[in-house]
Subunit: 522 residues, 2 copies
């Protein structure tokens, strides 16, 4: 199902002062030259995840004489985001035809076994990291102009000629990030899985921290508000790059729809522009993200600058309620919550509203905007009362959502996080979820993160740890160097895009185990 | 059938002095910016050659919003050799995915209807002029690094996204050549076909005259001796660029096999090197080409420098004869003559030997090398006597070739050109060919050129003109802007490479009508 919003008539309003402040925080990207560590074979297995076997020492790379159809797969040892350079040459008779070869990059081994020809999803196949290149004259140093996200790189000689073969004399990646892995002290633990959860989270966040917090360096490669909120939380506990968060907040406030609504995502190239995708939960999170930033940084000037924008998001979201103070369903792709297919989002969105109203209320209190604080307090109370009165199912003790009274994880999680239920009620609801296992589950690590936060909020610390090990640990057991955009342990091939070839396997919103470990288990 | 020679043990000997003299003659390439003249549809017909229909004015180019799968075909009005620049942009919502598109270049319309996926020939598919390109950020000016030979260019948006479309704001070709079309006065005639034969020849030669005389600017793109000989003859009557011929002669003599044999072809990039393909007829033509150059230029210094190399080729070829003074069959791809499949080349090669011996004898006479002149005179006489004694079939009056006594065009043509028969005998042989129409015909315009020269030599001027109109005119009637590497009127899909997709449609050895018209019909 294509979830996309287009509003060609959207009028954008720019605050030049905010844009300037954002530009002043552009980070310098740090570069590291990384070379492959091995020549590998990627072998299909009965499992959906193939096996990676060492085929040869990397020192032997230039001894491979690639003729028509020959392939070689290189392992860079860890997930990289960067720019690749190849030094190519020919052997045999003089090169009497162009070198024609294919380069394929994969974040995980599974991508290397997938064929781009089979892709039939609804997002662009342009995201598949594959290039078809002709080089007329060898030797040549080929500096690929595009950035790739990958651990594995395959080189296939589509054709040479009967008279010569192609040789890869050298290949390296100039990896980029705005932060350094070495600057963060790893979580200490005797439990190897805990150390891995932390390490893979850090690598994920590191590789998404570019000139903005990107959602995924392979696909989308841009700043989304929902992702930013979680990345920023993880960043405060780890890399502690305050300027990058500040930059992103100013960018979102720097251009809005003419009614003041913050976009769900934005672009910085070729020039700064916010997208015409508007997701109500993401807009509301502007205030929550701003408060988190203030609490981590103490930067009152930014809080003051951007508070009006945070207030405005809650006003706009406030218009989405009916006379009973219940969130109405929006049109099209109106809110995110999770990628779960067929998910009714109304009640979860009510949870997000209450959650954010309380955060923004706190901003108003800090700034002495008493009237605004009172207003938001009242809003949160009314919406809490309404959701409890109309949507709490007596039989199960769980919230229902939408006309079909759907019971799903998202509604319970967000109303727990919003404080719409007591800790005891929350515990009971989480137990009930375990028992019922509603059909409408959780697909994204983003939603799973909020589930774990709900467990922690309700004092279920052991269950939270077990769940992290089950869920994020599941990706690690499948070979993850960075955490994936999507992971459904019960359906590993799941993709919201029609094919997992375009899934992102280093995705910002999945980096939170390092945050949860450092914040709740230290 | 793969016709390729590989000799990895070939020892090359370089004459640095000759190489320096060649480098001193490197031409400056002249640049012309050319823009497309129309948007066209290329429509398949029942004929093998599709129809080109104007679809829209080129001024409307940027109004095309290319979404996934959309294509647009541009007509540049004439055959171009050059470097293409595109100015691309996006329309719709912000560009939320890479632009992924395919560019396809065709010298003739037929190539545009062929699918590279179907190619299964023995030469490299790297020659197919097709690029798959990702551009992450639009607008962008894309300067393609490779040179293309084309009249038609198709742009296909393989994918954009649901949110935006690609626009081609501008596209142009910086066409290159070492000569100018404007510098040659066209052949004047009331006969439109004659004017076209001249014009298309000139364009063919112009587009092959780069930093060397290339065989074809689409495929091979390098200097071959057989092609050079004909290009040089056409050049003397038209562009009159003496330095380019001089450069090519010095290159061939500048590096040879250690026995002194001149290679069939050579490369100038990344650095000068001669190929390990050795074709005996091409080696012998070194002397003929040198004499032609001297006669056109009067450059005695070059004749003196390179005469030894010309002598040496005849000595090497002389070793290929048996005790009866008949040319022995060589191994593998030993001589060229023509691409006709199954052609026995022995007798034709004997003709080439006699032809070249007489030319080189003339060089020796000019330089006063009396002994060498006498030796070559004797060689030509002995070889002429032998071929007449053993290979002239009494019944038909035609020469036979090889053990199977094959009767083919090539043997007769070369022995006529060699003066091994009288004008009267030659006329009778040519008439007999017309009558018998031997199965082993002529595929390449190169061989057809020699056939026309044989007609002219035997005084059959009308027949020669009719044949030029039939053969080269046939290409013109099929829409040729430049003459093709291969043309068999009776089998238009013929290719020596397993598929016509890789055929060259602007090929040096096909440019001779302008020479024949100016030399014999003026």
């Amino acid at each position: 199902m294509a979830e996309v919003s287009i509003d060609l008539n959207m009028v954008r309003v720019t605050n030049e002062d905010f844009v300037k402040k954002a530009e002043a925080c552009v980070p310098e990207l740090l570069k590291t030259v990384v070379r492959p560590v091995a020549i590998v074979d990627i072998v299909k297995t009965e499992d959906i995840y193939p096996k990676v076997q060492k085929a040869d020492d990397i020192e032997n790379l230039s001894s491979y004489h690639l003729a028509k159809g020959d392939r070689i797969c290189l392992d860079f040892g860890d997930h990289q985001v960067g720019y690749v350079t190849l030094k190519l040459n020919s052997v045999g008779s003089p090169q009497d035809s162009p070198a024609f070869f294919r380069l394929k990059f994969g974040e995980i081994a599974k991508e290397m076994t997938e064929d781009s020809k089979d892709y039939d999803g609804w997002i662009s196949r342009g995201w598949i990291q594959e290039e078809f290149i002709h080089i007329d004259v060898l030797p040549a140093e080929l500096k690929l102009p595009r950035r790739y996200a990958f651990r594995y790189m395959e080189i296939e000689a589509i054709d040479t000629s009967l008279k010569w073969q192609m040789v890869v004399e050298d290949v390296y990646c100039t990896s980029v990030s705005s932060v350094r892995m070495e600057d963060v002290k790893p979580v200490e633990s005797d439990d190897e899985m805990i150390r891995k959860l932390d390490r893979v989270s850090l690598r994920t966040l590191h590789n998404c921290m570019q000139s903005v917090f990107e959602d995924g360096p392979k696909r989308d490669r841009r700043l989304w508000l929902g992702d930013l909120r979680l990345q920023a939380l993880a960043n405060y506990e780890t890399f502690h790059n305050m300027d990058l968060v500040k930059r992103c907040l100013y960018l979102f406030a720097g251009q809005t729809k003419d009614n003041g609504q913050v976009s769900a995502c934005l672009f910085t190239e070729p020039k700064f522009i916010v997208d015409d995708t508007l997701l109500l939960d993401y807009s509301m999170f502007f205030g929550a993200t701003l408060l988190d930033y203030y609490e981590a940084s103490g930067d009152r000037e930014t809080l003051e600058d951007l508070s009006k924008c945070a207030y405005r998001q809650m006003e706009i979201a406030g218009e989405q309620f009916d006379e009973k103070h219940l969130m109405k369903n929006g049109e099209g792709f109106w809110g995110f919550i999770d990628w779960t297919d067929g998910l009714n989002k109304q009640t979860a969105m009510q949870g997000v509203y209450i959650y954010c109203a309380k955060k923004v209320q706190k901003i108003a209190e800090i700034l002495g905007d008493t009237e605004k604080a009172e207003e938001l307090k009242k809003e949160a109370e009314e919406k809490t009362a309404a959701v409890r009165k109309y949507l709490l199912d007596e039989k199960t003790g769980l919230f229902v959502s939408g006309e079909e009274k759907q019971i799903n994880y998202a509604s319970q999680v967000w109303l727990i996080l919003a404080g719409a239920v007591s800790i005891e009620e929350g515990r009971a609801m989480l137990d009930k979820l375990d028992e019922l296992k509603p059909e409408k589950g959780m697909v994204s690590p983003y939603m799973n993160h909020h589930y774990v936060e709900a467990l922690l909020m309700c004092g279920k610390k052991d269950q939270a740890m077990d769940y992290m090990k089950y869920y994020w640990g599941g990706m690690i057991n499948h070979g993850a160097d960075t955490f994936w955009e999507l992971y459904n342990p019960e359906n590993p091939a799941e993709s919201p895009y029609g094919s997992s070839i375009v899934n992102s396997y280093c995705h910002a919103w999945s980096c939170t185990p390092t945050y949860l470990l450092r914040k709740y288990f230290n």
